[in-house]
């Protein structure tokens, strides 16, 4: 079976965030036959004609493909990671930039404000010692250098939040973001080669042709830099995960949300699994995973090959939503049993789009051996 989709997350967040922040949300919530579900949102928005679709596997060319693909409707760059200061102060971080094209082309105009692209940014720092989740959202049209993507070297930005490939040879990225007294300035070096998701980077979302994305990840990156919060400036080190995905159409039907896990184990294994939750409470067939071995090989996992069980829940005082915050994951084929626990419960985004994206701790067994690790979990569609 061709490896269907891996990561729906950026897609839905991007779409939901954009659509909801600028209003389709209102239309959806007011209509009874189309309640605000992921499926509802994704099927709601048929792309205007003229966009390119992800139909076939394509050759990827780096560093060019790190930058934007404006012929596709949507695209995102997604960095999450766990870091620690020299004195052991732990942080989780997330920096995501989304691009969304409202039309395939921008019309000719003398107005410098005329554009078809808008950018959305999510920036979060989880101050685990203090239990504080700093999260910020920005959005901007891609005009007047306020937001955009550049090709050579790849650089994506919204005002002073930026993601830039600073060393093409060594695959070193620099992330910068600052808002109020929270900031990060990190250098991320790839510890693994770029991993193509799905079929040579073509990640199918359903059986229909075109409902797919181009998608690759760098599953493990070494992080070095600084994080600052109100409590001070911290020199930090750790691990991060990078996803880049672009597409025009993404359909998900009968799904109410998903749980997505990206885990980096101390023994060199990296793991990405996700499950779509359906209305009947069962994981959807599109749920999948991948285990990346220390030797560079990888094993894809189908829905039947892993099991995720929520063990503990947390109710958000802000939104009133109830999220799982501890899980047990069992992958018999790999002899892998993991317990995943959030590093702090309050990592909920409650801006225009509500979701939980947070740093987690991992421990468990690989065969007989004790393993530990860190990672990030994303929970979407909990109502």
């Amino acid at each position: 079976m061709p490896c269907v989709t891996s990561n729906m997350r950026g897609f839905a967040i991007l779409l939901i965030a954009f659509l909801s922040l600028v209003g389709i949300h209102a239309k959806l919530t007011s209509s009874d036959e189309n309640p605000r579900t992921v499926a509802g949102l994704l099927t709601e928005s048929d792309p205007p004609p003229g966009f390119e679709y992800a139909l076939e596997p394509r050759p990827f060319e780096f560093p060019k493909d790190h930058s934007a693909h404006p012929k596709f409707r949507s695209e995102w760059w997604y960095f999450t990671g766990n870091v620690e200061s020299a004195s052991g102060v732990p942080f989780g971080f997330q920096l995501t930039l989304f691009r969304f094209a409202m039309r395939p082309q921008s019309s000719q105009s003398n107005s410098p404000w005329r554009t078809n692209n808008v950018y959305l940014g999510h920036f979060a720092v989880s101050d685990i010692t203090a239990g504080v989740f700093h999260n910020f959202e920005r959005q901007s049209r891609a005009v007047l250098d306020l937001a955009g993507a550049r090709g050579d070297p790849p650089r994506m930005w919204i005002r002073d939040w930026s993601i830039e490939l600073i060393d093409v040879e060594q695959e070193v990225w620099r992330l910068k973001a600052q808002e109020a007294d929270v900031g990060l300035d990190l250098a991320l070096s790839a510890l693994r080669p770029i991993a193509m998701q799905g079929d040579r980077g073509l990640s199918k979302k359903s059986k229909e042709s075109g409902n797919a994305s181009y998608y690759y990840s760098i599953p493990r990156m070494a992080v070095a830099g600084s994080i600052s919060t109100a409590s001070g400036f911290h020199t930090v080190n750790g691990n991060a995960w990078f996803d880049h995905e672009w597409s025009t159409s993404a359909l998900a039907q009968g799904q109410i949300g998903w749980d997505w896990f990206s885990l980096q184990l101390d023994n060199g294994f990296d793991l990405m699994i996700y499950q779509f939750r359906t209305e009947n409470g069962k994981p959807d067939t599109a749920s999948h995973g991948v285990v990346l071995h220390p030797d560079g090989t990888s094993t894809k996992l189908s829905r039947e090959q892993f099991e995720i069980k929520a063990q503990e829940y947390w109710k958000s005082p802000k939104s009133g939503l109830r999220y799982p915050i501890a899980w047990s994951v069992h992958i018999p084929q790999q002899a892998l049993t993991l317990n995943i626990l959030c590093r702090m419960p309050n990592q909920e985004w409650h801006n225009n789009f509500r979701y939980w994206e947070g740093a987690v701790d991992v421990d468990g067994y690989l065969g007989e051996n004790l393993v530990t690790g860190r990672g990030y979990v994303e929970l979407v569609g909990y109502e």
């Binding site: 209003g23 921008s106 410098p112 554009t115 005002r159």
Partner: protein, 847 residues
């Protein structure tokens, strides 16, 4: 025992329904007027806030440029220098709708950054696809009302024109009204910022930048960056403060109306007092019997107060319902006035404020209880006796009444003088008026006694026996008749006072218009309004006009908003000829010294309201944002101007040109060759104007007429409320007098028994009520004039900064007094008819 009291009371009330009705009416009208004024004010503010929400969103500050424009680059620099401050670009201009022969406001926004401004859960929801608005050029949204007005549907197009270029905009969605979620105000086309630039053909500039700054430190930082990097050519305006300012402006307008509504409640209280007094009086036998049956004083007091609360509650409830209807009727008038004077907003929905209704309800009951307190206490003093004592309520001696009222009169007026002398606010002025009114109301009994004595002296002959008798009884019963007379006096005085104020105001405005409108013709953009900058008249056009044979001279004006001390004000740049200069009459400063400096120095003249509000006078300097930064200008004159209560600044065009670069004019005054008829001049000028231009030609007479129309519209609501309050007061007072007369049945019986004929009986009664009417009218004249003096010399300058000459119209006074007399006479007719028909035996049965 208590139920017995209630049964006795309620039976009495149902037997005297007209008395009950009178009490209810009194309180209902007072409450209704308060409710109506409050609700219209509330609705106006709601409409204003809705308009602000549409144009400002959640922004807290606004960055404006010297020409009403900010360069794209400035936006970019600020966005990158202050990346964490939510900001959004806005273009707000009027454009012409050539197919509808009107203008409409074009609002260009960036839906993306605008959402940032409105985050934190306060996001405005847009019920359409913003992607289409942003990415499809020439798309627009309007609200349903505007769409209906313009005859457009979703999907259809509308042509707008700006600067000679017509653009067709496709309407992609019809949004709800401003008061609904995601709605926008009427008379607005919303487009994307890029479309706005394309329509207006201003590609380098946006109108202004809106910020949401939650942290005052950030505002300071931004302000500092402005002064250091932009040589103060840009100004940061605190929108909250500005909107508060605008609301405060309208507060002056409403303070007049609120005072009027309080007056209505005051009259209502007099009516309640009167009614309650009579209810107690009429029931003294019942009360006496109840006391004999063992009902305690406390129970009687509670019962009467409970009864008044019920009357107050029912009356207030009726007043609230009537008030809502009244407010609905007044809304149109208020809307027009607010639009004429303060801000452009269509106030089309009455928004009911529950708090207002509750407060009015409580005020109604409170006023009723307060008015009923004295009669209620009187009622408790009734001795338990079965002997029917007609003089159950022992009247105070006339001497004591005179003493008390005299002291009250002096005290109130002294206090009024102190309040007026040592206060600055318009509200203190109203307090002063209330005190004067109260003081004069107090001497009504005294005046009745005095007038009665004087009249008896005049009518010394035996032939006037019935009249003399009537006069004497009125004067003896003065503690009863005094209240009704005072109420009649207050209503009459209010009528006179407000009437004089409005007449004087109008006369001053007329004089000013006569003096200021010196040119024969005025040419201006027909769509020009105070809040936006219209397209300019080209200098070539003025030259062309001047070259016409029929034209002797021209004067020009250019109007714009400038920023001074953090707020915006209208600046008019005039090129004036000698005739036009005579149109300015200076309150401070001397024309002979002003005009020589006018052209070549950095000097300005300001209007009287501006000087008043800003606390400025001649030789003070004001700092104005010019294109080259903040510049200082010396005030050399303060001139009379009723055009705007916010006031404005005027400057010579040559001074203007030294600091700003603007081509063209907003208005031209055309001065005819004396030999040319106005009609010919009109024709000659009209021939020069393009058919599809917006320019309109007006004669001075026409402009004067339009201005006075605005004036009359402004005071229409005042007049209307005055009419309502006064009319109903008269009806109420008429009822009160009627009640008093009916009380006298027994007395009339005696008169009949001692040989008074029917006509003589009528004469007695009519003399009595006439005396009350005359007393009310006689006192109302000085009170009314005093009220006018306070309104004109204290309240108007304090509210608006306008001074005006008082003009007392004898016709107005005569009319008001005549109505008072008529009311009093009317009150006499029915009782006199009854008195004449009374059977002496029946009437004296208990004697």
């Amino acid at each position: 025992m208590a139920p017995l009291v209630y049964v006795a009371f309620s039976r009495h009330l149902t037997k005297h329904p007209w008395q009950l009705g009178l009490a209810l009416l009194g309180i209902a009208v007072g409450v209704a007027v308060i409710v109506a004024i409050r609700l219209t004010q509330h609705s106006a503010f709601e409409a204003f806030d809705a308009a602000t929400r549409t144009t400002v969103g959640q922004a807290s500050h606004r960055l404006v440029g010297p020409n009403g424009q900010v360069n794209n680059e400035i936006y970019q620099r600020f966005a990158l220098a202050f990346p964490a401050i939510p900001m959004t670009p806005v273009i707000n201009r009027r454009v012409t709708l050539p197919n509808h022969a009107r203008t409409i406001e074009l609002l260009g926004i960036d839906p993306i950054s605008r959402t940032e401004i409105g985050s934190d859960g306060r996001t405005e929801r847009m019920s359409f696809d913003p992607g289409e608005l942003i990415a499809e050029p020439y798309t627009a949204v309007v609200n349903q009302t505007t769409a209906a007005e313009l005859g457009v549907q979703e999907g259809s197009s509308i042509t707008v024109r700006s600067g000679g270029t017509a653009t067709s905009l496709k309407i992609i969605a019809l949004l709800p009204q401003a008061h609904s979620p995601g709605g926008i105000v009427n008379g607005l086309i919303v487009v994307d910022i890029a479309t706005a630039q394309e329509v207006l053909q201003i590609y380098q500039d946006i109108g202004h930048i809106d910020f949401r700054i939650d942290d005052p430190k950030m505002a300071n930082q931004l302000g500092q960056a402005l002064t250091t990097d932009y040589a103060s050519t840009l100004q940061l305006i605190d929108l909250a403060a500005q909107s508060l300012n605008i609301k405060r402006m309208t507060a002056a307008f409403y303070s007049n109306l609120n005072a009027l509504s309080l007056m209505a409640l005051l009259v209502g209280m007099f009516l309640i007092y009167n009614t309650e007094t009579f209810l107690v009086l009429q029931r003294r036998d019942i009360l006496g019997r109840l006391r004999a049956l063992g009902v305690s004083r406390r129970q009687i007091l509670i019962s009467i107060l409970l009864e008044s609360s019920c009357i107050g509650a029912i009356g207030s409830l009726g007043g609230i319902i009537f008030g809502i209807f009244l407010a609905n009727g007044l809304l149109g008038i208020v809307s027009t006035t607010i639009n004429d004077l303060y801000f452009k907003t269509s106030i089309d929905t009455l928004s009911i404020a529950p708090v207002t209704l509750l407060v009015s309800f409580v005020a109604g009951i409170g006023a009723t209880l307060f008015a009923a307190l004295v009669p209620a206490v009187h009622a408790t003093r009734i001795e338990p006796t079965l002997v029917l004592n007609r003089n159950g309520l022992r009247p105070l001696s006339i001497r004591r009444v005179c003493l008390i009222t005299g002291i009250l009169f002096i005290l109130c007026n002294l206090l009024a003088w102190l309040v007026l002398e040592y206060s600055q606010t318009p509200n203190a002025g109203f307090a002063g008026i209330s005190l004067v009114v109260f003081g004069f109301a107090a001497i009504c009994p005294l005046a009745i006694v005095a007038l009665s004595a004087a009249a008896r002296w005049l009518l010394g002959s035996r032939r006037f026996l019935p009249e003399r008798h009537g006069l004497r009884t009125v004067s003896v019963a003065v503690n009863r008749t005094g209240t009704a007379t005072a109420a009649l006096m207050i209503a009459t005085a209010a009528s006179i006072g407000i009437g004089i104020m409005v007449t004087s105001f109008r006369a001053s405005v007329t004089d000013w218009l006569d003096s200021a409108l010196r040119a024969d013709l005025y040419i201006a953009d027909a769509q020009f309004d105070n809040q936006s900058e219209g397209s300019k008249i080209a200098p070539e056009f003025v030259e062309h006009i001047e070259s016409l044979a029929a034209v002797n001279a021209t004067s020009t004006v250019l109007r714009r908003q400038v920023t001074t001390a953090g707020s915006t004000v209208r600046l008019s740049a005039y090129r004036l000829n000698d005739v036009a200069r005579k149109g300015f009459s200076f309150k401070v400063g001397d024309a002979d010294s002003i005009w020589p400096q006018w052209q070549d120095h950095d000097v300005v003249i300001v209007t009287e309201p501006y000087a008043y509000h800003q606390g400025l006078t001649v030789n003070d300097d004001i700092r104005i944002q010019t294109e080259a930064g903040e510049r200082s200008f010396r005030i050399i004159g303060v001139y009379l101007d009723y055009a705007s209560e916010r006031g404005s600044i005027s400057i010579s065009r040559s001074t203007y040109d030294r600091h700003w670069q603007t081509v063209g004019y907003d208005g031209i005054g055309v001065y005819a060759d004396p030999a040319v008829a106005l009609g010919d001049l009109m024709q000659a000028v009209a021939a020069t104007i393009d058919e599809d231009s917006n320019l309109a030609i007006n004669t001075a007479t026409e402009l004067k007429r339009t201005s006075l129309e605005v004036f009359d519209r402004t005071f229409l609501i005042t007049e209307l409320l005055r009419a309502i309050a006064v009319t109903v007061s008269f009806i109420g007072i008429l009822g009160a007098l009627l009640a008093q007369q009916l009380e006298r049945t027994q007395e009339y019986g005696i008169l009949r028994a001692i040989g008074f004929t029917n006509p003589e009986m009528r004469r007695t009664v009519l003399t009595q009520t006439s005396l009350l009417g005359i007393t009310a009218a006689v006192i109302a004249i000085p009170v009314g004039i005093l009220m006018a003096v306070i309104l004109i010399d204290v309240i108007n300058p304090r509210s608006f900064g306008w001074t005006m000459l008082m003009e007392i119209s004898p016709a107005l006074i005569t009319k008001s007094c005549a109505i008072a007399l008529l009311a009093a006479l009317c009150a006499g007719f029915y009782p006199s008819y009854r008195a004449a028909r009374i059977e002496p035996a029946d009437a004296m049965r208990y004697e």
